[in-house]
Amino acid sequence: MTATPAAPAPPTTGAPGTLGGRWTQFALRRGGRLLVSLFVLVTASFLMIHLVPGDPVRAALGMTAPTELVEARRHALGLDDPLLTQYLDYLGGLFRGDLGESIQTQLPVGETIGRRLGATVSLGLIAFVLALLIAVPLGVCVAVATRRGRRQRTSLGFASGSVVIGSIPDFLIGVVLVAVFAVGLGWLPVAGREDGAASYVLPVLALAIGPAAMLARIVRVEMISVLESDYIRTARAKRLPARRIHLVHALPNAVTATLTLGGMLLASMVAGTVLVENVFAWPGLGSTIVSSIVTKDYPVVQGTVLVYGVIVLLVNTLVDVALAVLDPRSTVGEA
């Protein structure tokens, strides 16, 4: 018998159809999709101020404000220019990092957002990491314990519990946490960011608990499916330790759906900060957007919505890239 000839190694770059070509196609597709999404987002945020019923400046300054002041502010905001001119000015401003000026404080919107962005991003990221740290081990453990119809009560309890917890709005969880741990027990600060790490505990929990429950459910379902795979049976036949089978063979193969949902959860957590920050008086973008809506400070609302949208788009793109690296068969193959 002769040795089987080796197949030629796949080139790393090259024509479409090769691995390198597929990666290039993938990058172009994702880059194109991001650009289109950004264009839609920017246009929507621009039009937002024009969709407000009536005159936004009059609404912001109040019905009793002098007409001269309203006109002056309209002129300062460029609202008396033709729509296309305003749009081009808006785009030009974005390229220069100029998001306009607050009607209320007269401060540049970019500066206001810059001061508060860190608080929101840190809150969202810590909550996301916590949700992963809870969900992945929990989902894996429950999957291993309940696979092949074992421990039916645990399975039912986990499925019901995760749906119930995942369905509770995060701001409601926040209110309960404040009532119990801040007001009732006095263990943690009620609100604000002045108490260092302790300030983060309740808002992070409020943001993380619901997504962690939903993510754990997905991890469990994916793990159970992977644990029934033939290659897991092969790993068992190799007489490998259970921990190696679960962590080295099963978990990486269950990660695709987890990461897809994880990315969506991170995006939803960023949006979730809007309400949670208000529950905890957190000095981030979420409280800024709500207070700006209340005071009808539309340039700030416009800028903040744009920043939130960009964060969500970037998170989704990062998840796409991570999926492509972890699972080139499906993601890059699709390109």
Binding site: T2, A3, T4, P10, K238, L240, R244
Partner: protein, 246 residues
């Protein structure tokens, strides 16, 4: 080393799949295990490697109960799904090498095993997805041999392969068995394939061994009615499909 099943019964819930099966795979020979689908062949094999729990009886390897380090390895039917798609074939093989060895020793052993199954050692870094079905089944054989088994169980290892590839894998199995002196339980529903590789044959029906003996005797002069029916169901018989190499 021989492998002996002593009064082995396996039960899934209320269904008894194996009924006090007793069978011995003689030292250094290939025993073919045949029977229709659902007869319990694969369950018997899985019981030997601990993939299904034995409700009564025991499996002995060289007189010692088969445990975690029993020296029994198994190759599965579907080469397309039996290897971890995220792991390189070299890693899959290296993982089965027993004991603590250095990285270079493992790499050397992986290369030796790949050469043994007639694959280029340079492909150790590739993932299973880049290999054909026949090549993957060779990797699965190398993976099983990495565990340094005394007994190898091959469960329908050619049934998912093209006919053109089946012969090459069967020749490889015979070659491995001869070179390494392995005892082997070769499971198949294809009687021609079993006749080609096996020295002895056992016939299984509804969780019972109904007949066993030298391959020529069982397949040419079957004494049990079930074996006769099994042979009668083969179009063109078993002898004219494959010719045994000597």
């Amino acid at each position: 080393m021989s492998m002996r099943f002593e009064q082995v019964s396996v039960r899934f819930g209320r269904t008894q799949v194996l009924h006090e099966v007793s069978l011995e795979v003689p030292d250094g020979s290939i025993m073919g295990l045949v029977g229709e689908s659902g007869s319990g062949k694969s369950t018997l094999a899985r019981a030997a490697v601990g993939l299904v729990p034995v409700s009564t009886g025991r499996v002995l390897v060289d007189g010692v109960p088969a445990g975690r380090r029993s020296g029994v390895q198994m190759v599965f039917q579907d080469p397309y799904s039996s290897l971890d798609p995220r792991m390189s074939i070299g890693e899959s093989i290296a993982e089965a090498i027993p004991g603590r060895t250095s990285k270079s020793e493992r790499a050397g052993e992986v290369a030796r095993l790949l050469r043994l199954v007639h694959l280029d050692p340079g492909r150790a870094g590739q993932r299973p997805g880049s290999l054909s079905g026949g090549q993957r089944q060779r990797v699965a054989l190398a993976r099983a041999l990495a565990g340094r088994p005394q007994v190898l169980i091959a469960d329908e290892i050619t049934s998912a392969l093209d006919v053109s590839v089946q012969g090459a894998v069967l020749n490889l199995v015979r070659e491995m068995q001869r070179e390494l002196g392995l005892s082997m339980l070769f499971i198949s529903h294809n009687l021609a394939v079993v006749r080609y590789v096996a020295d002895t044959v056992a016939v299984m029906s509804h969780g019972h061994i109904v007949e066993h003996g030298p391959a020529a005797d069982v397949l040419e002069n079957p004494s049990h009615r079930y074996t006769q029916e099994l042979l009668a169901a083969v179009p063109g018989g078993t002898s004219n499909t494959l010719t045994k190499e000597t």
